[in-house]
Structure formats: structure tokens, C-alpha cells
């Protein structure tokens, strides 16, 4: 076959569009909710059935609080369950991002996670597993993590388009942009 010297498509990777990131995240959470955390949510609904029921939010909160206070072993169990659930969610994102650079949601919107580490020759490193873990630690059921969730929309929409843990893990979410064809020489 004749080797044609056709113009090559110029593609650059730019920061992902915020709305694509949010929708992709929503899609991922749906998958996580139904395929991975399904057995746990059924278990949680069984535990919530043990608590005194209330239609009012504040009294329901109070009832749940006193239930857990008087059933410390159940409270510990539920917390540990949340912790395990978080580990599964982190595993979903970390494994897929490390293996293929995308979660399912990102795949749909053609978004990629890339590393911000460069070698001596200025070439970008491949994503390392620890980076994928660190960037997804936001799912841990720990109180300070709430700050990450609050700050994320501001940082992505108004700020540097990177979440706090993306700074920490030196990763970023990008999408390819087509810039036209380069003229062959």
C-alpha cells in the first residue's frame, strides 16, 4: 500500500469542561450506587428500620442520634460499614483511572486523568497507583473531607480547574481538543 503523507490531526489536551466533569461524576456515582454499593444500601435500610421512625427531620435526627448512642456496637458497625463502602468507591475510581486513565463516566465524556509529573527530558510520567488513590481519598468518611467537597465546585468552576486532592496527587482531568490538521513536510 502506498504510504500517503496525509495531514495529521492536531490534538491538544486541555482542562476538562466543568459541566462534563460533574455529569461524568454523576454517572459514576450511579454505577457505584447500583452495582457496587447495592448490597450495603439494602443492609443500611434494614438498620434504619430498627430506629424509631419520625416524619420530622430534626426529631428523626435526634432519634437516630440517641439510637446510636445507646447502641454503640451498632454505631461502630455502621461507621465501619461506611468506611468499607468508601474503600470500595475509592477502589472503583482508582483501579479504573490507573488501568485505563478513565472511569466509566469519564469514558462517556472522553475525559482522561493524567499525571503532572515530568521526567528529566520533560516527558510526562504515566499515572501511578498512589496518585489514583490520593486523588480519590475524598470519599473517606472523615469530618475534614467535607471541606474538600465544599471547595471542589469553586476550584473546578472558578479556580484552577483542579480539586485540592488533584493538587496533592499531582494529577489533572483533561479532555482532548482537536486543533485542525498539520501540514506534512
Amino acid at each position: 500500500m502506498t504510504n500517503l503523507n496525509l495531514p495529521k490531526l492536531q490534538v491538544v489536551l486541555g482542562s476538562a469542561t466543568p459541566w462534563k466533569r460533574f455529569v461524568a461524576f454523576f454517572v459514576d456515582m450511579l454505577i457505584v450506587e447500583y452495582l457496587i454499593l447495592g448490597p450495603f444500601t439494602r443492609l443500611l435500610s434494614r438498620i434504619s428500620a430498627l430506629m424509631p421512625q419520625s416524619s420530622n427531620f430534626y426529631s428523626a435526627y435526634g432519634a437516630a442520634y440517641s439510637f446510636f448512642e445507646s447502641n454503640s456496637s451498632v454505631a461502630t458497625g455502621v461507621y465501619l460499614m461506611f468506611f468499607i463502602m468508601a474503600l470500595f468507591v475509592i477502589s472503583y475510581f482508582a483501579l479504573l483511572e490507573w488501568a485505563i486513565g478513565q472511569s466509566v463516566g469519564k469514558m462517556i465524556f472522553n475525559l482522561y486523568v493524567i499525571s503532572d509529573y515530568y521526567n528529566n527530558r520533560g516527558r510526562r510520567h504515566e499515572l501511578r497507583f498512589w496518585q489514583c488513590i490520593v486523588r480519590n481519598l475524598r470519599f473517606l468518611p472523615l469530618a475534614p473531607v467535607i471541606l474538600l467537597w465544599i471547595s471542589a465546585p469553586f476550584l473546578i468552576v472558578l479556580g484552577p480547574r483542579k480539586r485540592a486532592l488533584e493538587f496533592l496527587s499531582k494529577t489533572r482531568v483533561v479532555e482532548p481538543h482537536t486543533m485542525g490538521y498539520s501540514i506534512p513536510r
Binding site: I31, P39, F40, T76, M107
Partner: protein, 314 residues
């Protein structure tokens, strides 16, 4: 902007296959984990029967034993088991299976009070031993069943402490006493007790004994003269205890069940054992428990465990 050529994302041959494998693996692991967690969380649902069996085995303590400490009856656990049985409408009676030499006074009293406050018929079944604090708990029950050869009674308080000032002197170590009040370091193992301190302790022990004896007498409906017979804190066999009115029925589990049937006028008794609900950490430590416990037991055997000061037990 970053040039694509510099950082081409990894392109696996079959992304879909990887996604499916990851999802299936996580789904399976998640189901198994949820199943195990659910089993431990919903252990209460396995408790079905009309008579709850609650064990009081080993020294009674109010301090939560560590994973590796065996042979202790933790009062919080026992009280919560009694309360759980009490709250369960299917449970008609409670059998306290006692095999304990007693223990901490407060822990014993907590159990005795929980038994007293229970709205179910409680039968205390004393097995090999049910003395001191364990007998205190038993005395709160409606009926006490004990084998003729079991050991019970010992209604009294004991306090002890180690004193090794002589040993310290041998090694040229001296105790420098800096206290804000003259009784602050009473019971210190580094010096002899003064007569005043000894008197103070004896007074406290007498007060505890009086409270203990008074509770037992009230629980068993004993007269003052009968109760004073117990004041020397001696232990009795089950047969002797029956004569003294400390035990109602001589026998074992069968007699305990029979006593419940008669008292509640029921024919069908299904015993369900109430146990401490295993925590997730219990599950995690299960694997290493046996070997670690054996190592600890070996070390523990060679060291005498004594608290730094006076230890009091009933």
C-alpha cells in the same frame, strides 16, 4: 494546554473488558463484605426463644477486657444482655448461668441491680462456683438453683496490696513522699501502711461489707440474725447454702428450667443464649487471637499482675 503527543493516555486493547472485570470484582467483593457485615450487625435477629441464657463466667469486672483477656465477666456486657432480654417481648424468663468467684464490688452491684430491675422472671443457676460478688448478683434473682457440691456464699469484702519497701531498701532505692494530704498515697506499695491508714481502710471495707450483706439479706428475705451468720464471709457448699436459705433449689439446668415452667405456668421452654455482640474489630482480631493469646498467656504466667495500689474485690 498540554500537547497530546507528550502524554498519550494509556490505550488498553480492550477498555470495556477492563471496566467489566473491575465492576464484577468489586461487585462480588462488595456482596461478600456486606453479607459478613450484615451477619455481625444483625446477630440480634438470631436470638429467638422464650428463655434467655446469660453467662456470668470468670472474675466480674467493670473495666472492658482487651481482646486477649479471657475469663472475665464484663459487667457492661452482662447488664446490656439483661436489658436486651428485658426489652424482648418474646423472652419470658432469664437464666443467669453463674460460674464466677465474684470480682469488683461496683461491677457486681451493677449486675445485681440490673437483675433486680428486670421485669422478667430471673433464675440464677450456680454451677461450680458462685461466691461473693457473683452471689450478690444471684441473690437478686427470683430463684437460685445450685448443685449440692457447688461453692457459694462468701459474702464479704477483701482488699489487698503489695508492699515492697524492704526490697527497695535492699537495692538502695528510697521512696520520696510528696503529697498534698496525709492519706493521698495510702496503699502505696513503696512504704508500710500507718495504723491510721489501716483503720481507714478497715472502716471502708466494713461499710462495703455492710452494704453487700444488707443487699443480700434484703434480696433473700433474711432476718438480721441470719444475715449476721454470713458476716464471717465463709463459703458454703450448695447443700449447706440451701439449709441457710441462700439457695432455693438444689440441682442444675434441668431444675432451673423446671422452676421457670412452674413459676410462669408454661410447658414449652426454648432457651436462647445471649452473648456479647461481636464487633468488627473482634472479627479482624479473630485470626491472630489464638496465637497472640498463647504468647500473652505465657508472659502473663510468669508475671504476677497486681495494680499499683490496693485492689478491692468482693
Amino acid at each position: 494546554m498540554v500537547r497530546a503527543k507528550e502524554s498519550e493516555p494509556t490505550q488498553p486493547r480492550n477498555r470495556l473488558a477492563i471496566v467489566i472485570v473491575v465492576l464484577v470484582l468489586l461487585g462480588v467483593f462488595s456482596s461478600v463484605t456486606a453479607l459478613i457485615t450484615g451477619f455481625f450487625l444483625s446477630s440480634e435477629s438470631h436470638e429467638s426463644g422464650n428463655v434467655a441464657l446469660i453467662r456470668i463466667e470468670g472474675a466480674i469486672t467493670s473495666a472492658e477486657p482487651s481482646t486477649f483477656e479471657k475469663g472475665l465477666a464484663y459487667s457492661d456486657d452482662i447488664v446490656s444482655q439483661i436489658e436486651r432480654a428485658d426489652a424482648n417481648t418474646e423472652i419470658k424468663a432469664i437464666i443467669l448461668a453463674i460460674n464466677s468467684p465474684g470480682g469488683a464490688p461496683v461491677a457486681s452491684e451493677e449486675i445485681a441491680r440490673a437483675v433486680e430491675q428486670s421485669n422478667k422472671t430471673v433464675v440464677a443457676w450456680i454451677r461450680d462456683i458462685g461466691t461473693s460478688g457473683a452471689y450478690w448478683a444471684a441473690s437478686s434473682a427470683d430463684i437460685i438453683v445450685a448443685s449440692p457440691v457447688s461453692v457459694t456464699g462468701s459474702v464479704g469484702v477483701i482488699a489487698s496490696y503489695l508492699e515492697f519497701s524492704g526490697l527497695m531498701e535492699m537495692y538502695g532505692v528510697s521512696y520520696q513522699r510528696l503529697v498534698s494530704g496525709s492519706f493521698k498515697d495510702t496503699g502505696s506499695p513503696f512504704r508500710n501502711m500507718t495504723p491510721e491508714e489501716e483503720e481507714l481502710y478497715n472502716k471502708q471495707i466494713s461499710l462495703m461489707r455492710d452494704h453487700f450483706l444488707g443487699s443480700v439479706a434484703a434480696n433473700r428475705g433474711l432476718s438480721l440474725s441470719d444475715a449476721n451468720k454470713l458476716a464471717d464471709a465463709r463459703a458454703y457448699t450448695g447443700a449447706q447454702a440451701k439449709e441457710l436459705g441462700l439457695v432455693d433449689v438444689l440441682g442444675g439446668k434441668k431444675e432451673a428450667v423446671e422452676a421457670i415452667k412452674q413459676r410462669l405456668n408454661i410447658t414449652d421452654v426454648k432457651i436462647v443464649e445471649y452473648k456479647r455482640r461481636p464487633s468488627f474489630t473482634d472479627l479482624l482480631s479473630l485470626a491472630s487471637e489464638v496465637s497472640s493469646y498463647s504468647i500473652g498467656l505465657g508472659i502473663g504466667d510468669s508475671l504476677m499482675k497486681e495494680s499499683n495500689g490496693v485492689s478491692v474485690r468482693t
